[in-house]
Symmetry: C2
Subunit: 174 residues, 2 copies
């Protein structure tokens, strides 16, 4: 068992004053810690009959792609507006000020297949909820959500209540 929290660096006032940023790049530098994260996500995927790994741009790609390679599954990127070149589905979500959106290629998923959604961090759950809605719009099914960092003091559990969520490192306060 590896203490993942000790591999994550906390940086105050980033990206703006008052925010304590949990910096996973120090964990990525530690091969044992990085490997262990993918091990845990791999275990979580077992028994879920997952056929594809989806991950959210851009830190989510780091964990999702390693997991897809481990499991021998296809990988689907969920991207910010305007990055995907093909026909796509779009889902908007609210930010503190304004709205943002995520997109997926319209032909990336097959109806009724089960996928695992990966990101580096869950905070309000807004982006993950929008990403899961894209899966459902595609007619596929979210078998689980795997994240490394869990800002457990934020109300994401309510928003993602219908999903099976694995989070590996929990912060109970800012």
């Amino acid at each position: 068992m590896i203490d993942l929290k000790s591999a994550i660096r906390s940086i105050p006032d980033f990206p703006k004053k008052g925010i304590m940023f949990r910096d996973i790049t120090t964990l990525l530098l530690d091969p044992e810690a990085f490997h262990y994260v993918i091990d845990q996500m791999e275990d979580f995927s077992r028994g879920k009959n997952v056929s594809k790994i989806l991950a959210i741009e851009s830190r989510g790609f780091i964990f999702g792609a390693a997991l897809a390679d481990r499991l021998g599954l296809g990988f689907v990127p969920i991207r910010k507006t305007g990055k995907l070149p093909g026909e796509k589905l779009r889902q908007e979500y609210e930010l503190e000020y304004g709205i943002d959106a995520v997109e997926i290629h319209a032909d990336a998923l097959k109806p009724r297949e089960s996928i695992l959604m990966v990101d580096d961090l869950v905070a309000t759950g807004g982006t993950l909820e929008a990403a899961c809605k894209l899966v459902e719009k595609s007619g596929a099914n979210v078998s689980g959500i795997a994240v490394l960092v869990d800002l457990a003091f934020l109300p994401w559990r309510q928003r993602l209540a219908k999903y099976d969520v694995l989070s590996l490192v929990k912060y109970e306060s800012e």
Copy 2:
């Protein structure tokens, strides 16, 4: 031997009119093709005494992170301006119109260690050259550059002449 080119989709006029965009998301959907790309990058890394894998945001993360997990090495993200939270090094590079920049955490690399640089695509080589300069500013050494897509009709070879470059799918014309 897998025909990687047939797994890549070409989309005309993206992101702007006159550009033929090589879309790797179709390759990522094919687990055998994705696995084979990482196999090739893994083979390329052998004998280079590489201690870390670096990759460029954000599609580069997909290949670089899977490779780092395969090899049991640390992973270092090279990111666009303002994304990394810690103390960082910055390298600007010229675009067709204007300039852009890439950044790396100042403490990500150790002097004299050897790294492998990964990205999804090489075109003019401007971003890769800037990324390699960041490695050299850190006192480390670029043992090789691995990319999936090679826009061989663009003059990147001149710019990256001093590096050992693996490219897996070559396009001789737009």
